[in-house]
Symmetry: C2
Subunit: 363 residues, 2 copies
Amino acid sequence: MKIAVLGSGHGGVAMSADLALSGYDVSLAAVEEHSVNIKLLRSLDGIKIEGFTSSGKTPQFTKPKVITEDVPFVLKDADIIMVIVPSFAQSVYTDLIIKHGKINALVLFPCGGFSALEFRNKLKILNRENDFIACETSSFIYTTKITGPGKVLIKGIKDNVYFAAAPSERTGEALSVINQIYPQFKKVHNVWQTSFSNPSAVLHTIPTLLNMSRIEQMGPYRYSHYDITPCIGKIMEAVDRERVEIAKHLFPNPPSFLETMCKIYNLQAENIYQAVKSVNAYNIQFSPDGMKHRYVTEDIPYSLVPIATIGKELGIDTHNMDAVINIACMANGENYWLTGRNAQKIGFEAKPKIKTENLVLAL
Amino acid sequence: MKIAVLGSGHGGVAMSADLALSGYDVSLAAVEEHSVNIKLLRSLDGIKIEGFTSSGKTPQFTKPKVITEDVPFVLKDADIIMVIVPSFAQSVYTDLIIKHGKINALVLFPCGGFSALEFRNKLKILNRENDFIACETSSFIYTTKITGPGKVLIKGIKDNVYFAAAPSERTGEALSVINQIYPQFKKVHNVWQTSFSNPSAVLHTIPTLLNMSRIEQMGPYRYSHYDITPCIGKIMEAVDRERVEIAKHLFPNPPSFLETMCKIYNLQAENIYQAVKSVNAYNIQFSPDGMKHRYVTEDIPYSLVPIATIGKELGIDTHNMDAVINIACMANGENYWLTGRNAQKIGFEAKPKIKTENLVLAL
């Protein structure tokens, strides 16, 4: 079983090193324009892991079989393709997968964000929807950090990560393969659930936008609990109610953000403000450095825009979500409704057609 | 000529004292529920003015002819009625004016906010639209502050204050009376212009909402220039473009917020961020104390809501304004579209009817 890990950021480096240490036949590849780290790792002839490993082996210097800028080369015989790049960089890789990937390879997107759906929509348009198994987890299994040249710290490996394939009928088949590597992956209903379960859509965007003045003046500054306040919590709740209404059409019993937080962190809290303030892991954080931070430029176009535009297709009122998205559009002078992963890009159209509003607002 | 000043806040106290010192027959009145200051001033038997006076007389202890909670009593023979109360408190006074006011009295609202239009709409509904002359200035002529029991500081008296009556055909008639008292009032096209010229709709709301985290944690704190940042400036510009598009339908050549700032403060600035940062008067300020501050609870429902709902009646896209209003609605759990001074309350309906969206969104 050959594994290709695509992407040379901390996630791809950590995953490829950890899997190599576990004994898998793994290659690490990134396209030329993102290959600075690839060149470095090749010159160092490997990667030093610190912290944890999924095999339980002592963290050590290790070496993926291949470290290369030649993405097509590693794709041609990979059985599992891990796409470990930010959402906005995915399309260059998915184009290469479609062109060079081995038929029936399993293609995993690790952080929700409606990535598997967009990939599958690309395949559908080409009439090749059965050529690959598109899979998604709700969040990246590793918590990692680059600590120096060629060094990656694996701070943690999550226990329980939602997993689904698109179409969901293939989730079992995909899981029987991937569970050999990651037994932590748990089957859920579908890739709607993996994408809707990522808390970033609410947790990253709203506290960042409503702290715009201080973040632009001082960021990155040391803060805690996202510097959430009671009114910010109320806004998160109003937006989350819309998210849950939409999710109800896509998988059964979607939990609210508050319920999710209380479950993950084993909390008792009456509202989002209390819940976020109660998470010890949020005690020490650094704020974003400005409005071009991924909490805005990734989580708005790749989390909130797909959710809101799906809502509009379903005829669900999303005016609270729209407000948050439009604040981000104005701040950055970008029409995220168009540049983001909207319902059209993931091939979502309500049947029967009940939409009542224009999908795309002029900026 | 008898003048009734309604309202016992710093504005009403300053105006009634200044006019009394000028020698006018002036009464100060406030309804029982806002009468703490009235009782105090009556017990002190007058008001001590500090700072400036409009007559040029030495600031001194002075006494309006009547200081009372009996609003109907002062209304029955007042030729000029000054409504010096916050927007949300106006309706109790306008109801009393309609019931007890002398026919043909001039009723002045001093801070825009579509107050004259709402008053006139009330009169229209009662078929009494010619019983009073509804007038409005764009901003309050005095800059004032209460400095102690019975003491008011007049920090400044503005030079050039926009004035209009509704209907605008009566502006000349009204001005011939009011200019005897305030020669600083200058005729403009109509009360649309006085209401649209108040900069609060943009200047107060957006920097406050987008500084929510810090204001809720620390407010009131000492800040400067509204703690505006470049992205906040861009949001103000996006909202202001919509405001100007709407204003173009209501009076000729509406200036942008940036043009207004540059003119008032004699600045050269390329954008709103630069302009606001250049105003020396904004060097030392105190931030709002929270999201219930009038920068949100008055300027959203009485400035932005009327503008946005008029825009919708005119078929103009207001999605940027809507975003700001909806953030305020979510933060305070109040549907300002309904509780605020919407187009319906000021009797505005586009002819021909070209509106395409629902006026009121459910919260």
